[in-house]
Amino acid sequence: MRQLLHQQWVCYRLQLRVLSTSLFDGLLAVFFPLMFATAALLVYRLNGDEESLQYAGLGAAIMGMWTCQGVIASSLLTRERWAGTLELLVAAPTSLTRVLVPITMALSTIGLYCVVATILWERWVFDLRLEVASWPLFVVGVLMAALSLALFGFFLSVTAVRYRTSWALGAALEYPGWLLCGFLIPVSSLPVWIQPLSWAIPTTWAMAGIREAANGGSPWVDLAVCAAVGCVYAALAAYLGQRLVDSARKHATLALT
């Protein structure tokens, strides 16, 4: 057990180092959602209602996580493949799950950074102070959002690696996530047939929990569902990951470039 934790910790730190030294991912993963949050806040500012501005500000703070984690995670294995390291990761006697979890956790860390950056940006640029009833519960909610997105990202990464151009897929996931997860638009305002899709993403539950925490309610039910949904994706991803490796051994698809 100690050895497993040590392994995961070292892998996490090294992967974080890989991510944080890239200008493209580091800067853009934060800048892009921040500009969209800005555009959305400019719209919300127009109606002059403090309450709806709070609503948007809270969602805008979290939406960057979707980009940093979900979007980048979907191209994660593809990037390993480009670098030629995917084969080496698979050839190691460690299971693919144990290799991928630290990587998605490293992405979560960038996501958390993005949350803090957006909260500060809202404060300085829009003079918008988020009113949060319970900061400790808010932080718990954000951490849960990060964790569940890491698991969801793990699922996306093993699914998308079969799709050769998964970087384009990743970019195409950005807007749907922003639409569906209740960051800036209440899920209830979406067409009814789309709403089940929203609730199938753990982040939607995390966002609902965070809003509860901000409004003084209890976030625990939402966060519990979020954790459960996240675990379902993790289990699914672990299974798909194993299938992926097995199928790659059969069909020789690992080293494709």
């Binding site: 050895q3 040590h6 392994q7 070292v10 892998c11 090294l14 180092r17 890989v18 030294t21 890239s22 670098a83 030629g84 390291t85 084969e87 080496l88 990761l89 698979v90 050839a91 190691a92 006697p93 460690t94 290799v99 790659a248 051994r249 059969k250 069909h251 020789a252 690992l254």
Partner: protein, 328 residues
């Protein structure tokens, strides 16, 4: 099967299905490896030699558990490569040539740390082990630099260090010297040679003859997915040497002149090698036969440069093996 052997392959086959076209997909099956059998004794340095696309890498990938064979069996240190995946992976190292397969943005040391975690190297031993390997591959002093600034030779040596992290018993080196300058390649050969001295078993693929000649205890030549010859470098040279070799430099030799030279009694084979503007005819002939004058005469009025006779090299053997017509 004999579990004393380091590697044992019996009738390994592998075919690939490729699809082309988007709308009207046509399916094509390619046999990359067609029934390959060989074995490696423990502590042996074995070379797998062959032209590009002969099936060397496919064979290695089956042995390191990354690919499933379509037929045949293989064991590494007695463990089956299809079923005992984790046991095999724990005991082998894999190094491929080229400059990919490293985390560019991490230092050499961090790359090694990452993979020692994945290979479950005891955390207390890690630091010392990494220092030891950095020393072994001659990267001391550079280990804190990011890999993106490394030359090809340095990357390749780092790859070898990575492959040795968990002290594997068997090491698979897939064209490790590809694209490295002569000095770097010599250093690399020294490193590979030293692996055997410490008791490792090494399977090396390459298309550099002198490399195989210098390093390998035994060699198998693979061509179009089949092993066409196997033995010590001396054995392979003897295959051609029922005779000697005549090298004739020519300028603008025509195919029919080559055919005429091939027909000279005593000549076993003629291969044309392009060297800049020259074509060098490499004529193999029976020992004792005196063919020089007849061959030159058969070339007609082709402009001929230097003519020399020599003992056959491993390269002659190799070229003969991979270019002669496949029987059947």
């Amino acid at each position: 099967m004999n579990s004393d052997l380091a590697v044992e392959a019996v009738g390994l086959e592998r075919s690939f299905v490729t699809h082309t076209g988007v709308l009207r997909r046509s399916r094509k099956e390619v046999e990359a490896v067609k029934g390959v059998s060989f074995h490696l004794e423990r502590g042996e340095l074995f070379g797998l030699l062959g032209p590009n696309g002969a099936g060397k890498t496919t064979t290695i990938k089956m042995l390191i558990t990354l690919l499933l064979p379509t037929a045949g069996t293989a064991r590494v240190l007695g463990y089956d490569v299809v079923d005992d995946v984790r046991e095999v992976r724990r005991r082998i190292g894999y190094v491929f040539g080229g400059d990919r397969g490293l985390y560019e943005r991490l230092s050499a040391r961090d790359n090694l740390r990452y993979f020692s975690e994945l290979y479950g190297v005891d955390p207390r031993r890690q630091k010392a082990r990494i220092e030891e390997l950095v020393e072994l591959v001659g990267l001391t002093g550079r280990e804190h630099e990011r890999v993106e600034g490394f030359s090809r030779g340095m990357r390749q040596r780092l790859h070898i260090a990575r492959g040795l992290l968990h002290d594997p018993d068997v090491l698979f080196l897939d064209e490790p010297s590809i694209g490295i300058d002569p000095v770097g390649a010599r250093e690399l050969r020294a490193t590979i040679g030293s692996l055997v001295d410490v008791g490792k078993t090494v399977l090396l693929t390459t298309h550099y003859m002198f490399e195989a000649d210098e390093l390998c205890d035994r060699i198998a030549v693979i061509r179009s997915g089949e092993i066409v010859a196997e033995g010590t470098p001396q054995d392979l040279k003897r295959l051609v040497t029922a005779g000697r070799v005549l090298e004739i430099e020519t300028y603008g030799v025509a195919p029919d002149a080559v055919a005429a030279a091939t027909g000279v009694p005593g000549v076993q084979g003629v291969v044309v090698e392009e060297r800049g503007q020259q074509q060098v005819l490499i004529v193999q002939f029976e020992a004792g036969a005196e063919v020089t004058q007849t061959v030159l005469a058969s070339l007609g009025d082709v402009h001929v440069g230097r003519v020399s006779a020599r003992e056959p090299t491993l390269e002659d053997a190799y070229i003969q093996l991979v270019t002669q017509d496949v029987p059947g």
